[in-house]
Symmetry: C2
Subunit: 116 residues, 2 copies
DNA sequence: CTTGACTCTCACGTCAACGTGAATGTCTAG
DNA sequence: CTAGACATTCACGTTGACGTGAGAGTCAAG
């Protein structure tokens, strides 16, 4: 499929999809015309990328993750052992971020007079 | 106290403190020399600002909140009724952000093979 | 009086994930 | 064959919360 269809099916702008390629998150084939040709699995990849981005992961980190999880069935992990450390760190970062948000929400609540 | 001490006591850079003033989050007095003179309560204010910033609130929103909570004892809320709506929205935003982060964390876990 | 730490005000630089044209080429339906 | 939708590659613009000098004034200590 071409970039427009992938864009519609994922809700991600063509510009963003080209940006993902520039960052190494996607590597679509090219037609003789230069048009990008995407695969079905790229739909899944793009969705996964979106979630990870919203989690605050940078494109460089995601670029390391994506190829390790290229088989959606096996979904496994031990494939890229050297990533486990980094992923654990990211997980900790996310947990910390959640805690921070909860703390900020508590502050808002106290400002509004809602008891903790 | 001057900007350096406030910086040390809050862990916030002088540049950031000047930025906060520019955004209306702080309004320190000035010495004849032009030096900023901060009060004790500014330490608390800065810390609160930090938490709210980390929660994703913009400086303009915080600028509206800070003066309404200037009395840390009264901590009350109804003082600025017109803010309640906005704050409720922000609260919802924070809650949504927490949910997103939790979802992303679950995805990371599934990638690592950890069961949900 | 001078040194050094501290402060001041511009004002441009940074980073991330794109948005937004501009100029041009490709494809497909009538 | 031609119009229109869709694609390409630059390349600069955006947003927020600051970082980073530059050039100059201030202040306490020796």
């Amino acid at each position: 499929m071409r970039i427009g269809e992938l864009s519609r099916r994922t809700g991600v702008s063509p510009r963003a999809l080209r940006y993902y390629e520039e960052q190494g998150l996607l590597t679509p084939a090219r037609r003789p015309s230069g048009y990008r040709e995407y695969e079905e699995r790229d739909v899944t990849t793009v969705r996964r990328v979106q979630v990870l981005l919203s989690a605050g992961l940078g494109t460089s980190v995601i670029a390391e993750i994506v190829p390790c999880a290229d088989d959606p069935d096996v979904v496994l992990a031990g494939r890229c052992p050297e990533l486990l450390d980094g992923l654990a760190q990211e997980r900790a970062r996310i947990t910390a971020a959640i805690d921070d948000l909860a703390a900020a929400r508590d502050i808002l609540d106290s400002l509004v007079g809602r008891p903790l």
